[in-house]
Symmetry: C2
Amino acid sequence: MPYELWYWPGTPGRGEFVRLSLEAGGIDYIDQSFEQPDALMTDIKTRVPEPFAPPYLVADDLVIAQVANILLYLGDEHGLAPKDKAGRYFAHQVELTITDMTAEAHDTHHPVELMSYYEDQKPEAKRRAADFRDNRISKFMGWFERALERSSGDWMTGGKWCYADLSLFQLVDGIRYAFPKRMKALEGDWPKLIALYDRVAKLPELQDYLGSDRRQPYGDGIFRHYPELDAA
Amino acid sequence: MPYELWYWPGTPGRGEFVRLSLEAGGIDYIDQSFEQPDALMTDIKTRVPEPFAPPYLVADDLVIAQVANILLYLGDEHGLAPKDKAGRYFAHQVELTITDMTAEAHDTHHPVELMSYYEDQKPEAKRRAADFRDNRISKFMGWFERALERSSGDWMTGGKWCYADLSLFQLVDGIRYAFPKRMKALEGDWPKLIALYDRVAKLPELQDYLGSDRRQPYGDGIFRHYPELDAA
């Protein structure tokens, strides 16, 4: 049976980290955000255990939620991460750091009320976005760069891509969309990270997907572009 | 060789989630926040790969960072989680949800500038804390309660505690410290979760630790009590 991926329709969001690994791994799956775009909130209530939030992956009797957990599972089952301990846990460590930065990117437009509109928290968003631009982007991206410098190959865990490399591509892509001016000013500091981004963009395994309609444009999701939150 | 746990001295913080599993598992380790309290920032730079942030665990040649990743490792190596797929990934899913709630609890006192003082962001903290009290505490704790209702035993993954149960104890403990009035008003909604808290507090494996000086008082860490941020 193919996997089922359940996520909000209409935005790449957190689901995109999972899609990239499914696609690059050549893994058979049904993307329910396209197949049953109105069924998510009904479906989630029927699952045991019920996920806290989308995305979740259904694998026969298994229901797995939390992006990093789904990728850990896909890594184990489909060889999308090294099998040795050092590589396996380091791939997951990188993924969890990507998760942290993604949450912080989200909080730049929702710093004080998670369920309200951005428009209801613009002054606070301005302050949080300035902190993110001035302190956090370099701290995270600089760490990824140093990790790549210490890798034995071109990828995070050596000579072959793992799921965390694909997620890193998506993270850079999302932060570029949200903060284009700031990223342009900083990217020269991370040559290995940007080279990794370019290599993922050209992976033969991903060409069909990245050129298709299934690779959705950004919008009102986690990565948002508000010009007033960006600056060089 | 015993493990080395490296974390900031003087506060339970995120390190406490790791300590509880090491202690309850009867695992030999050196807590460097007591043994070498001034050495953390020097040590972290010598590690390959260098962790993004403490806590990190040193296991001979392995260096593992990110709380959930450390617990995944300890779970695998020391039987602190089920071995079957469903239980293993669900324990990790619960742990990652605890990680999310912990980060949100932190952001109630640091909503807009992560490296500045609380005193520099009090109005924003007031708004974020109100949102956390009114919407987020119930959303998270209610989910843990429902997960326990669906468990085949008293614990998250059945009849035996796993690392996520210990972390859940620490989460409830920390949120109680930070938001005592709000927790008192809500706790009646989560009978299974509170019963789990009480069972962990009485685990024979943890009595020595919980009664010792190594179980540190809260302070200026992740879980902070500011009376102006709490309300019933």
